[in-house]
């Protein structure tokens, strides 16, 4: 089975969030980047599917769009065990809306004709939760979202989908298909030293975003960003940990009355 995994490089969750002078995004110079966690689970699911099948023609290809810096995240995925990668070079992702980005990914995916396309259910930066579903729509493929587990069957796939409040369902669907992966279905692997070494020699095909799909006028525009305003007045208990703890216990005893 040929599996394509769409991954995204996102600001590390511990990065400082400082709004840039244009007020449209955060200061990128402050940021460290990481692999979007739900995409890490998508990659893990793909690698396990390939290992389980044992087929010699099994292949896991990672696909990512973004500027040069995305290369480090691609190498990380290759070090974990992906066979090769496609990097859609783009400096203008911020000016493409979800449909614009999905068009890029769909166009690159078309050239590979995979049996299965996986991606995380959402990104940790924009949190749109739409890219995988739109890619399926653009490619005319069936899809399912919030998937925790994938089983290959004679006719296609059987997947476990998470519903709200602790409910699940299984879905059968034919291949090729697009699935968005929920975190927690598997235990993530770390790259081994051997993996890191081998990643250096693996193929990373570079495609130019502008050649793939010319940037169109976005349908939805992010005008500005701002820090959230507090809705509730939080009483901050200061001092040393011991002083703050004493103040809190005082509140819990005499105001909240739970002690």
């Amino acid at each position: 089975m040929k599996i394509l995994v769409a991954i995204k490089q996102v600001p590390d969750r511990d990065s400082p969030v400082r709004i840039d002078s244009a007020g449209k995004w955060i200061e990128e110079s402050d940021l460290q980047y990481a692999l979007n966690e739900p995409d890490a689970y998508a990659l893990e699911e793909a690698l396990q599917l390939k290992e389980k099948s044992g087929a010699v023609d099994g292949e896991v290809i990672v696909l990512s769009a973004g500027p040069e810096r995305v290369g480090t995240t691609i190498r990380e995925a290759l070090a974990k065990g992906a066979d090769r990668a496609i990097h859609i070079l783009s400096d203008d992702l911020a000016f493409r809306d979800a449909l614009g980005v999905a068009r890029l990914l769909a166009e690159a995916a078309k050239q590979e004709n995979p049996d299965l396309i996986l991606t995380g259910l959402q990104s940790e930066d924009l949190g749109l939760g739409q890219t995988g579903v739109i890619v399926a729509e653009l490619l005319g493929l069936p899809h399912a979202t919030l998937i925790l587990h994938i089983e290959k069957t004679d006719t296609g796939l059987e997947v476990k989908r998470e519903l709200e409040e602790g409910w699940f369902q299984t879905i059968q669907l034919p291949t090729p298909a697009v699935l968005t992966i929920q975190s927690g279905g598997n235990k993530l692997r770390y790259a081994t030293l051997m993996g890191i070494k081998r990643a250096r020699t693996k193929e990373v095909k570079q495609l130019n975003a502008a050649d793939l799909v010319p940037a169109a006028t976005p349908v939805v525009v992010l005008d500005k960003i701002a820090l959230p305003t507090k809705r509730k007045s939080t009483q901050i208990l200061g001092g040393s940990p011991k002083e703050a703890a004493a103040a809190l216990v005082e509140k819990l005893r005499f105001e909240v009355r739970v002690l």
Binding site: G129, T145, Q172, V219, A226, T234, V258
Partner: protein
Amino acid sequence: MSGVLVVIEQRAGKIARINWEALAAARLLAAPTSITAAVLGVQTESAAAEIAARAPGKVIRVEHPLLAQYTADGFILALQQLIQSESPAYVVLPHTYQVRDYAPALAARFVQVLISDVTAITEGPVFTRQLMQGRLNGSYRHSGNGPCFVSVQAGAFPAETAPAAALAEIGTYTPTLDPAQIRTRPSEPFRAAAQAVDLGSAQLIVAVGRGIRNQDNLPVVQELATALGAELAASRPICDAGWLPMERQVGSSGQTVAPKLYIAAGISGAIQHLVGMKGSQCIVAINKDPDAPIFEVADYGIVGDLMEVVPAITEAVKAAKQ
């Protein structure tokens, strides 16, 4: 193109609160008489009557045997036809797992982009949604020529209540669907196992998040829970990593809790977690990041490393109980 179409989600005839919030959000985009509410399925009479009592302009029962069970293909095709026939300027949906499954593709079919998980609608209209796991708000504008698709976050808008006066008229719409167009076969929903831990009835909860950093540090929060006589809970990443069982997870994919006291230690407060605990009577947040979104819902906050703060609280609780 005019008016608003609100797509109401019913499950076995039951309509969750988030749908009334979507109806209220629609009021910010059009006058009540220009709001149409649609409900999809089979045997939707009673659901439609319940919706009509909340007085949108009109209620449409979108019925077809192939809509008895949710599939993305069935819902997208049915709604595509309904939207073409009604031609609304806005389509407002509740941001549920089901809507996340089909609405992005439905919007793309109209060459539009869903503005997902919206928390506020202001003059313009400008749509606010969260970025960077709730650490930032983004203001979005629709600039396409087609209908504008919006999904609203649970709890962000006050739910529309039933006025004493008039009921909306109820109509039906039958989409053209063919079994061959439905490519996925879903099973009936099931629960993994009987939940051994009922966090929902716990009076005191100590919850732990990524800030714990390492599984070996868990005893630190367990000791606080024991000292308080509280249940131990966690945010999703802790359960994903297998450090605590899934049944201890609080949030949209776990349990919803409303204890007297909820202590969130090292939990940043992504919306997926907040929806599961913001109804708690008293929320205490301990986090090293003073800008963490958890402080927005907390009554008391302590900014610091949980590895130092939590043991200090445990000691103080023990001393107070002596």
